[in-house]
Amino acid sequence: MTANPTMPLDDVLYAFAMARPIPDPGTLEEFTRKYPAYADELTDFAVDLLLDSAIEDEVGEADDDDSVSPAVSRAISHFQNALYELEKKPVPALQAVPQTKNPFADMDRTRFRSVARGLNANNTFLIKLRDRTIEPDTVTSRIGFCEKVAREAGEPMYLVIAHFQAPPVLARGQHFKSDAKPTLSARETFEEAVRNSGLSPEQQCYLLKL
């Protein structure tokens, strides 16, 4: 009996998952005898694998565009953040990534306009991107658009996505004609931002197709 198994539980589970296409009582018994300390986990896991094997994959039409669901968009963002953290180690915690750099913040006026032109957009739209006044999921789910922004801004994709995921900001150095302190307004969706930025129909069509 292996009262204190030298093999970590995860490795035992992997080995069990690999042992048979579908777990059977014989294999379960063999493993629980070999690793009695993990008997409960193995049995529970065997049931999970059995149920998993009974659930078939959903068959559907091929994905005909690059749009992704909000959940996948969040996962991509997480992936990019994890890459960033691993590549920059030792670095501050993940939460610091979105605030590391606003890719538009240091652009002078000429560069800002040039990036707007490169995107086939205008300054109003680019300001929305800079100040993150667009719902993050509606931007980051458009990978083609994020790639284009990364190319035009000359910044890595993970930084652009991390920027869009961060909370909205009030741009510093701007002048406000108001008696009250400026506050952040509600965020627009990507489509609303495109429609409400004074862009031509051709520009709108181009951006929404990216």
Partner: protein
């Protein structure tokens, strides 16, 4: 010839991909990125161009190892979309905080992908190159085990009645199957479940689907609330039709 896997069993033997996956990877490695992407988006395994998910995992790993960032950024999207679709099937909305669970499993998978090519251990991905669905099942299990709670909310199938008010499962055949699928298991449950699932596979498709959704995933057969996701809304039929299929399935499973 695809790169060999690194993970070793306790006996010092390396994991091996099934031959058909090796062949699929061989073919995909010789294709352009655009063609790989086209194939990665196909969702029907019966389509001749379909790329197995095991193969897609390999391509993303290779792209990471070779520093091909463009390929990583593009291939990771269909890969994560496949993960999400599978997780939606295996962590149904009937579970508490199903979306949160799915997000966490996806994130763990992303962290494994990010480790490739770094000095951190990414050999857990080897399982995904051999049996993709089992790899995801393992991550899901580890996540659920952390809370020592499977978190599933199942409707008591034994209380379901047909339109005449008669119980659809008078012998508790489906009820026992449902309980074995939702509670912490013992070996007796496992044996019962293994036998029952073999019998469920032989049911006609509509009955099998009804059992899968109601007994294994915990969906209600139907509901008066039009916004509730039920087996009926998923199959696009009435709750009565689902209950009829459950009743027929219960009779067949009892008689097996």
């Amino acid at each position: 010839m695809p790169r060999a896997l690194n993970k070793m069993t306790k006996g010092g033997v390396g994991y091996k991909r099934p031959p058909e996956i090796e062949a699929s990877i061989d073919m995909a490695l010789g294709q352009e990125l655009e063609e790989q992407l086209r194939r990665a988006k196909i969702r029907d395994p019966a389509d001749p161009g379909y790329m197995p998910s095991e193969c897609l995992v390999h391509l993303v790993r290779e792209a990471r190892l070779s520093g091909d960032k463009r390929a990583v950024d593009r291939l990771v999207i269909p890969l994560l979309s496949r993960c999400e679709r599978r997780l939606k099937r295996t962590i149904p909305d009937t579970w508490s905080d199903a979306q949160g669970l799915r997000d966490e499993v996806l994130q763990t998978f992303c962290e494994l992908l990010a480790r490739v090519g770094s000095n951190q251990d990414a050999t857990a991905l080897d399982l995904f190159e051999c049996k993709f669905n089992k790899g995801l099942a393992t991550l899901r299990y580890r996540r659920i085990r952390k809370e020592n709670n499977r978190g599933k909310l199942f409707r008591d199938i034994g209380r379901e009645v047909d339109e005449d008010g008669h119980p659809i499962d008078p012998n508790d055949t489906l009820g026992r199957l449902s309980r074995a699928a939702q509670t912490a298991a013992n070996q007796e449950d496992f044996i019962h479940l293994a036998e029952m699932l073999e019998a469920v596979k032989k049911l006609p498709p509509a009955q099998r689907k009804a059992v899968e959704l109601c007994c294994l995933q915990g969906y209600a057969p139907g509901s008066e609330d039009p916004n509730e996701v039920t087996a009926a809304t998923i199959c696009g039929v009435s709750g009565t039709a689902i209950r009829k299929n459950l009743r027929k399935a219960a009779e067949k499973l009892k008689a097996r």
